[in-house]
């Protein structure tokens, strides 16, 4: 049935687009902002904080110390990380150097079908790397993969994301162009700007409706 539906639809569409002229303007995009690296960090931080993300700008060689201090202070119980990624390996290394008072490290065991219970009911925090950031939008770019699956940044009530300051692009368009997205789109690409939120009840903003209640970002500066 759907084959013939397809034929019928195209049989209508082809003459339809041929009827009359389209008047397609060719406007230029607004100019791309030219920001210095530190301006981009600042812009991203300001925008993300405005939608209640928690942003820490730290030195690249000291970020795991900052993470450990934060984890102890907040009393996290379990931390899901992705070994095999730079971020995951750094966490593992840091924890091996002394993990008193720190959350237990977890890894995403097997496929979701067998890991759902733990992920939904027994994971406090997920930590992931990012592919970059977008200063103009105040958003992080994530390309989840086998090491850092898609649900790591969605199911745990707290998501921690790690971003290299030098991977912050001015605009979404720039990020796409520089990384040639059109040639290699992944299974799933995400932009994330803050914790999950809704204003569906009387326009009152509330956080953590389905996804993470908190988004904590470490921006690593050289």
């Amino acid at each position: 049935m759907s084959n013939t539906a397809r034929e019928r639809i195209f049989a209508k569409l082809r003459p339809a687009v041929a009827a009359g002229q389209f008047d397609i303007p060719s406007p230029e995009l607004p100019p791309r902002p030219e920001w210095t690296p530190s301006e981009k960090v600042q812009k991203l931080k300001t925008l993300m904080e405005a939608v209640r993300s928690e942003v820490h700008v730290v030195k690249a060689d000291a970020w795991t110390d900052a993470l450990k201090a934060l984890a102890r202070q907040r009393g996290f119980k379990t931390l899901l990380h992705g070994p095999g990624t730079q971020v995951g390996d750094a966490v593992k290394q840091a924890w091996s150097e002394g993990s008193g008072g720190l959350p237990a490290l977890r890894t995403y065991e097997g496929a979701i079908e067998n890991y759902k219970d733990t992920l939904f009911h027994d994971t406090d925090v997920g930590i992931t790397s990012t592919l970059g950031g977008i200063a103009e939008s105040g958003a992080l770019i994530l390309w989840p993969d086998a090491e850092e699956p898609r649900l790591m940044s969605l199911i745990p009530p707290i998501h921690i994301a790690v971003l290299d300051a030098d991977k912050i692009y001015a605009t979404f368009s720039e990020a796409m162009e520089r990384m040639s997205w059109s040639e290699k789109m992944p299974t799933n690409a995400l932009l994330i700007s803050g914790p999950s939120k809704t204003a569906d009840i009387e326009m009152t903003l509330a956080f953590g409706v389905h996804g993470p209640k908190e988004l904590i970002v470490f921006i690593l500066e050289p």
């Binding site: 759907s2 979701i112 958003a139 993969d145 809704t198 389905h210």
Partner: protein
């Protein structure tokens, strides 16, 4: 919904008399209005962006068959299964079949206006399936057994007291609370359970990129990501106009969409799906299906003027800015798409004669056109459709349904009177003498129901000029 017994006038009257409803809408619409204004503060830049949005959408429509073929090809290469549906019934059956093939009984749904257009929930429930809306607003109206009153904020007609009562009554074990945070927590708890155990997830599509075969979803809550990631099967439904040509078309449209819809620079999540779970990946659906629906869109495309309707990206900002919508709300329109965009879209899909004159519910103030992110000339299309209502040679379904001899004769007489000065003079004289005694029947009765009948002057302007001359000449 959409049945022939619906009376737009009656709906309007009921809505206008509902002070709670009007207060809820006034508050919500002015909030959205202010938020949009704040995010598009730079007028020159906004105008430029709107030009780009218009160009992207027009270019896509001009190559629609080619782009849809490309989208299909890319999706299949990427492992996404593509289905075509000419009617909503076909689309519903395709989705039912996918569910049956997987012995799936529990569906979690992200927000999708196309699925509302299909009345998918009702259809699946009639076939014994559990369908769970998971967008908070959609969840609220599903509990209440209602339909969306707004494209973006579907439960906007309800205030928190009403929602508090609803949750307390409908969610087992839910305490009564009017605190928004607590209401959200109740929904979170209930729906997380559903996400975890669902057999299938359904979503809409905000944009589909032909170049890469990528489905784009815009959301704040994370329920869309849940529906497209946790269950083993994901079905996306889209109207066939939702395609864009290139990946580089996405950023400007995204910026326009979030800014216009909710006054956000960007939403919490922008979710781009290109393939099902690949070998070695640990989550994401094993199967992704894309259902592409026509339901009258191809017919709209063939009219060089009306096809601009299909540029719409469903941001809902024309609703927020419409003096009619903000006073009567979405349900009064009787169909899935309310407000200015609904006024032009619904009659073209359903037929003018079935839409109860919603096309007349406009003051033609042009606010919708001024804010439309893709520059659809909505007032112009409203005028065109009003003409079509009377034009027995028109092309829109239901054209000419308002054609009637008395009205034709009245206008013919009017034209005649205005062609001959003598006749005009005579008509004015007769009007001056007897106009007040003209019986208030038919449209005149309607019109004078809430208005004072204007009194016709005894002497026409022409007469006065003749007898008294003109001052300050």
């Amino acid at each position: 919904m959409g049945d022939q017994t619906f009376s737009f006038e009656k709906n309007v009257e009921t809505a206008l008399g509902d002070t709670q409803l009007r207060a809820n809408f006034e508050y919500a619409m002015s909030t959205l209005y202010q938020k949009r204004k704040a995010v598009f503060a730079d007028e020159a830049e906004t105008e430029r962006l709107r030009e780009v949005g218009n160009a992207v959408r027009q270019r896509a429509l001009s190559k629609l068959p080619e782009l849809l073929e490309k989208l299909e090809k890319k999706c299949i290469e990427n492992g996404i299964q593509v289905h075509w549906a000419e009617t909503t019934d076909e689309a519903n059956r395709i989705i039912l079949k996918i569910m049956d093939d997987h012995r799936a009984t529990r569906m979690v749904k992200g927000k999708s206006m196309v699925s509302e257009e299909m009345h998918l929930n009702k259809f699946l429930e009639e076939h014994g399936k559990e369908v769970m809306e998971t967008d908070l607003g959609e969840y609220i109206i599903q509990l209440a057994g209602e339909t969306p009153s707004h494209i973006i904020v579907p439960a906007v007609h309800k205030n928190k007291d009403q929602i508090a009562k609803l949750f307390h009554e409908k969610i087992p074990g839910a305490p009564y609370t009017e605190k928004v945070e607590e209401l959200n927590a109740l929904a979170r708890k209930t729906l997380r359970e559903k996400f975890q155990h669902a057999d299938i997830g359904l979503s809409g599509v905000n944009m589909a990129v032909a170049e890469t075969g990528t489905l784009c979803l815009v959301e704040n809550e994370g329920n869309g990501r849940m529906c497209t990631t946790v269950p083993p099967v994901h079905v996306a439904v889209m109207g066939l106009e939702k395609v864009v040509e290139k990946l580089s078309d996405v950023p400007p449209v995204l910026r326009l969409l979030t800014g216009s819809a909710t006054g956000q620079i960007i939403t919490t999540y922008f979710n781009m799906i290109t393939t099902p779970r690949k070998p070695g990946e640990k989550d994401g659906p094993e199967e992704v299906h894309l259902v592409i629906l026509d339901n009258g869109r191809s017919a709209i495309l063939k009219d060089p003027e009306l096809r601009q309707t299909l540029q719409c990206i469903r941001c809902g900002t024309c609703l927020n800015h419409c003096p009619v919508y903000t006073r009567i709300g979405g349900h009064a329109y009787g169909f899935v798409y309310p407000g200015p965009i609904g006024k032009i879209l619904t009659p073209q899909m359903e037929g003018l004669e079935k839409t109860g004159g919603i096309i007349s519910a406009s003051s033609l103030c042009n606010a919708c056109e001024e804010v439309c992110p893709v520059k659809i000339p909505i007032p112009e299309l409203i005028r065109r459709l009003r003409n079509e209502s009377y034009d027995s040679k028109g092309s829109v379904p239901g054209h000419g349904y308002k054609w009637n001899l008395p009205e034709v004769l009245v206008w013919k007489a009017w034209a005649l009177v205005n062609r001959y000065p003598r006749l005009n003079e005579l008509a004015m004289k007769v009007g001056g003498l007897f106009g007040d005694r003209f019986p208030k029947i038919g449209p005149l009765k309607q019109w004078t129901r809430v208005r004072t009948t204007p009194r016709l002057a005894r002497h026409s302007l022409h007469e006065l000029v003749k007898t008294e001359g003109v001052d300050h000449e």
